[in-house]
Amino acid sequence: MRGSVNRPPTPDADEEPHKEPTLQEIINIKLIESGEKEKLMELLRERLVECGWRDEMKALCRAYARKKGRNNVTVDDLIHIITPKGRATVPDSVKAELLQRIRAFLTSAAL
């Protein structure tokens, strides 16, 4: 199988079968449970469209598909190709806004 891109390393299942969830995971679960994650996703989507990130990614995919031939492209391929560049090109303002939103959520959730 293809290695995943820029993802946390796969934990070994037999090493720690019942390991404690990390802080990141806990936050993630909180976000999902409260429905905040969905809102954040929607916000992010909007922002990325606004700043042209989406079109950029689209162009990348299109170029790749053209190069490889239309029938030889899979979704996984495309994700694999665009992920490094996609992560790198997210504008800092968008990141900052999301971070701010998550912070606000965490403080409100902690209260």
Binding site: R2, A13, E25, I29, I32, A65, V73
Partner: protein, 734 residues
């Protein structure tokens, strides 16, 4: 499939037709949205087809003299049209080619009408037929699905649009690919026909509906045939999609995701990662894999290839690592997303249909409940006409006395017949002067008013007038005693029913009032000296109970009062009775018992105590506990006599068991009349027990009350009905 993915799918593949016609700048987004559709002109999966071939087809079938501008997309037209949906609906009904499927599709379309929601392959109809190169349009049209052709011809043959033309484009298919055919149909018409977009949308709606029909014949998905998917479809069919439909959630933003109610946070079953981006739910075993473990799943479980992207509700082939497409899956998702708002209504309707056909009597109850009102049938407030709460309270109890209901609602007393009979008799008796209205007729009218289904409080003015006329001594605006009223009404009913007919005595009377309420009391007076017992039988319509006095601490109960009622009572020295045996007045003992039970047992609690010495009367506000289910067996004559004489049965009492044996001695309470206030002024209210729910009827106001409230009541008149009748009523109603 998300927008990006689909665009990627199409790659840079541009439709010749669009390029040719659209010289103006097309915004990138709209190009993308409609690309899927336009690409049908070219065979989308084969880049080998040349653009010239595409163009040839367009040229070949454009002998149209019409100068209409080419529309970019059907979908855009539909979109614009559906925004004026009321017009469409009106027109459709007018033309009369609407069918349920179309209406449903239109409904769905209205809600989810975004071009991006309708990928091009949704516009496929018919089954795949390999066609020769030179076949003409007409030949192609015969291969179309009949339902589509029908709708199309229905549209086109309309006399109102004679210049309507159609063009069918059949796409040359790549013989290697076993795809359903792609038909493009193009409706052309002069500009002056204003309503063309409407017709166009009908055509496309039929497209959708016939698409649903034709999908049944599809064994392959498009645009990318995944062998795993076709394998899955062959072995498992579409049941998996259908079961998914329930857990589909659509967000307010129009995105559809898969929500699993039992575990709100989906995690990968292998690594329990939550935040790993896309998660895939296997359609066969419902296990969830993250992208890292996705490819391993079909390896460890052969055949488990097809999964659903949880966040996007899209099909994904784990083995190919690619998005796969199944029109049927997409229709399932779209339908589920569009259906969400009206699911409750549909469910309710289905539930109503699922219920077995209720008996006629129960239909009324359903009607009331469907109106959103929780009150059972026949609960209607009675307006107070000026100190008439005594009347309202007793009438409410009478109105819900089951046997009386049956009598009046069953049409046993006919107003018309009664009037004729009265007129005949009236002419004979007093020449028709001073006609007294028939109280029974007015009771009947009251029943029909109360059970008419009208929920506004009713003013029983006519009944009141009739009652005044019939019982002149009670007429007036004063407050009356409810018990007195009850007795008087029963008497009047009895009079009317039996006037002119030989009076055989109240015990055997067959009038409705006495059939229901009349029992027979037995009173035994025993001489204390010689032991001779004289027995008399008295008919009664209710049993008046004295409240237990004396021990203040003891809780007064109905059974206690009944004990008191049937207790042997020593008559005082001033009440000496003449003993037939001793031929002299002797001290004697009197004991009451119930010889024959009525259908409805009415207990009247004597709450007005007269003090002879002080010459004053007062109301006794004493709580008396009463049971909801009452067994009166101990108070029957048979039991009393058995207790008195032990188990010996005397010859002259042999008939006791026969009479009481007719009816069961178990009763259920169904109405309580209470009095609040003082002796000379106060207020009556009735508590009714219908379908095991208590209702308080306070003149015009009817409210639900809890059982505890009822148990704490100070009953003035308590109505019990035979348990059999009570349960019969309950069954019938439900």
């Amino acid at each position: 499939m998300s927008m990006e993915d689909r665009e990627v799918e199409d790659g840079g593949h541009r439709c010749k037709r669009q390029r040719k016609s659209d010289n103006e700048q097309v915004s990138p987004l709209s190009t993308i949205d409609f690309m899927g559709f336009n690409c049908n002109l070219c065979t989308p999966h084969s880049s080998s087809i040349s653009k010239t071939e595409c163009g040839d087809i367009v040229e070949e079938f454009v002998p149209l003299e019409l100068s209409l501008t080419k529309s970019e997309s059907f979908l855009e037209l539909i979109e614009s049209r559906l925004s004026k949906s009321t017009y469409v609906e009106a027109k459709i009904t007018e033309i009369g080619i609407i069918d349920k499927k179309l209406a449903g599709v239109l409904d769905v379309a209205k809600k989810k009408m975004k071009a991006s929601n309708f990928p091009a392959y949704l516009l496929i109809i018919g089954t795949w037929k390999e066609k020769g190169e030179e076949e003409s349009v007409s030949a192609v049209s015969t291969k179309l699905s009949p339902s589509f052709l029908f709708s199309l011809s229905a549209t086109l043959s309309s006399d109102h649009f004679p210049s309507f033309r159609r063009r069918l484009l059949q796409k040359r298919q790549n013989p290697k690919l076993r795809y359903p055919p792609y038909f493009d149909f193009d409706l052309r018409f002069p500009r002056e026909i204003e309503s063309f977009p409407f017709l166009l949308s009908i055509g496309v709606d039929h497209f959708f509906s016939s698409m649903a029909a034709s999908c049944k014949n599809l064994s392959f998905s498009s645009p990318n045939p995944c062998l795993h998917l076709s394998d899955y479809r062959e072995t498992h069919g579409v049941s998996g999609y259908k079961s998914l439909q329930k857990s589909l959630r659509s967000s307010p933003t129009g995105r559809t995701a898969l929500g699993r109610p039992q575990s709100p946070i989906p995690r990968c079953d292998s690594c329990s990662l939550v935040s790993a981006g896309r998660l895939y739910l296997c359609l066969i075993c419902s296990s969830i894999s993250c992208p890292i473990h996705a490819a391993a799943h079909p390896v460890s479980f052969p055949g488990h290839d097809i999964a659903v992207d949880i966040a996007r509700a899209e099909l994904f082939c784990l083995s190919c690592g690619d998005q796969v497409y199944d029109p049927e899956f997409d229709t399932t998702v779209v339908a589920a997303a569009a259906k969400i708002p009206d699911t409750p209504r549909r469910l309710r309707r289905r539930k109503a249909q699922a219920l077995p056909t209720p008996p006629v009597a129960a239909l009324s109850c359903y009607r009331v409940r469907n109106n959103g009102l929780r009150h059972p049938w026949g609960l209607r407030g009675l307006n107070n006409l000026g100190n008439t709460c005594f009347m309202s309270s007793v009438l409410q109890a009478l109105l819900h006395t089951r046997p009386i209901q049956n009598y009046f609602l069953g049409g046993h007393h006919k107003r018309e017949v009664c009037r004729q009979r009265r007129r005949r008799r009236g002419v004979l008796a007093n020449g028709g002067t001073g006609e007294v209205p028939c109280l029974v007729c007015d009771v009947e009218r009251l029943f029909s008013e109360v059970f008419s289904g009208d929920l506004k409080p009713y003013s029983p003015a006519r009944f009141l007038y009739s009652w005044w006329k019939n019982s002149a001594y009670l007429a007036g605006y004063e407050q009356q005693d409810a018990h007195e009223f009850f007795i008087s009404v029963l008497d009047r009913i009895h009079d009317k029913e039996h006037s002119g007919i030989n009076n055989k005595g109240i015990g055997d009377c067959h009038c409705i009032a006495h059939r229901v309420f009349s029992g027979i009391l037995r009173s035994d007076v025993t001489c204390t000296v010689c032991g001779f017992t004289s027995t008399t039988y008295d008919p009664c319509v209710d049993i008046s109970l004295d409240l237990e006095f004396g021990e203040k601490s003891k809780l007064s109960t109905l059974t206690g009062c009944l004990d008191l009622f049937t207790r042997p009572e020593k008559l005082g020295p001033e009440q000496k009775l003449y003993c037939q045996h001793c031929h002299v007045e002797q001290d004697s003992v009197k004991q009451m018992s119930i010889r024959r039970l009525p259908l409805v047992l009415c207990f009247h609690v004597k709450r007005y105590s007269h003090s002879v010495a002080r010459r004053t009367s007062k109301k006794v506000d004493q709580y008396m506990q009463f049971p909801f289910s009452l067994d009166v067996t101990p108070y029957l004559s048979s039991s009393i006599i058995r207790n008195r004489f032990g188990n010996r049965i005397f010859a002259f009492e042999g008939d006791e068991s026969d009479i009481t044996g007719e009816l069961s001695s178990e009763f259920e309470v169904f109405a309580i009349v209470t009095h609040s206030g003082r002796l000379d002024s106060g207020h009556y209210a009735t508590y009714l027990r219908l379908q095991n729910q208590w209702y308080k009827c306070d003149d015009a106001w009817i409210t639900k009350v809890r059982e505890e409230v009822v148990r704490a009541l100070q009953g003035y008149m308590i109505y019990y009905v035979q348990k059999v009748l009570y349960h019969m009523a309950g069954e019938e109603r439900w």
